[in-house]
Symmetry: C2
Subunit: 127 residues, 2 copies
Amino acid sequence: MKRRTRQRECILEILKGVRTHPTADWIYEEARKSFPNISMGTVYRNLKVLQQEGVITELDLSGTMSRFEFKQDRHYHFRCENCGRVIDFNEPVDKGLDRRVERRTGLKINCHLLEFRGLCKKCQSVN
Amino acid sequence: MKRRTRQRECILEILKGVRTHPTADWIYEEARKSFPNISMGTVYRNLKVLQQEGVITELDLSGTMSRFEFKQDRHYHFRCENCGRVIDFNEPVDKGLDRRVERRTGLKINCHLLEFRGLCKKCQSVN
DNA sequence: TTAGGTGCAAAACCTTTGCCATCCC
DNA sequence: GGGATGGCAAAGGTTTTGCACCTAA
């Protein structure tokens, strides 16, 4: 049975307290402020556990490093092609899309992911 | 200036001749049939060159390994959560979405990626 | 008490890179 | 000829894992 350890709580609190979509590495650095000896292994293991419990989500759209977020309602993402930042996006989710496509194709569809790409405001003004 | 080498041609032909979305590793194994000594380094370098030339696309939707495809019109993808297979998808692309969202948000949007997740027909019948 | 968790370090995995020989243009 | 490319091997970056020691329940 899963335990509630201080390290796991810490990682969860970090994700709760942030509106960005941090990488494992960033979470690790943050967690070290409370647990100087915490290891990347622990971070990854706990991120996996929290995912399995459904408390957090791994954004596995694109890119090299995984990014994580505290679970929220269905929403889409925007990724800046210049700085890599990921922004939540409140374009309304099309609830019926999956069912429509399922009927048309015979595939069993669980969900869909939509990611916009472009330049965030900050990077627009710099370039 | 870019040269036309036999290895590069080979890799391109492999991607042209296939309707799947192979990983670099699969392409490597395939290319070895023609060039037994070809190396992964060459495969990756050429995949990068071909991308820069705009002849192929790297699907950087999700997952650990990159997948590549010969360039085609905008389309969406379906990924089987059981076997990992990626299938092209002819759900009509919403051409106006990017502009609408751009006007609403002030972000500069270049494109959007849409990926459906679920079970392909083969995996549905097995489970 | 004890199964589950942590830290540490090493391994695994995918991708990139340095070097030098080779090949196109 | 000479810069672009290939093969090889080593390095890089991210994630996973084995193991011995802890710790929450």
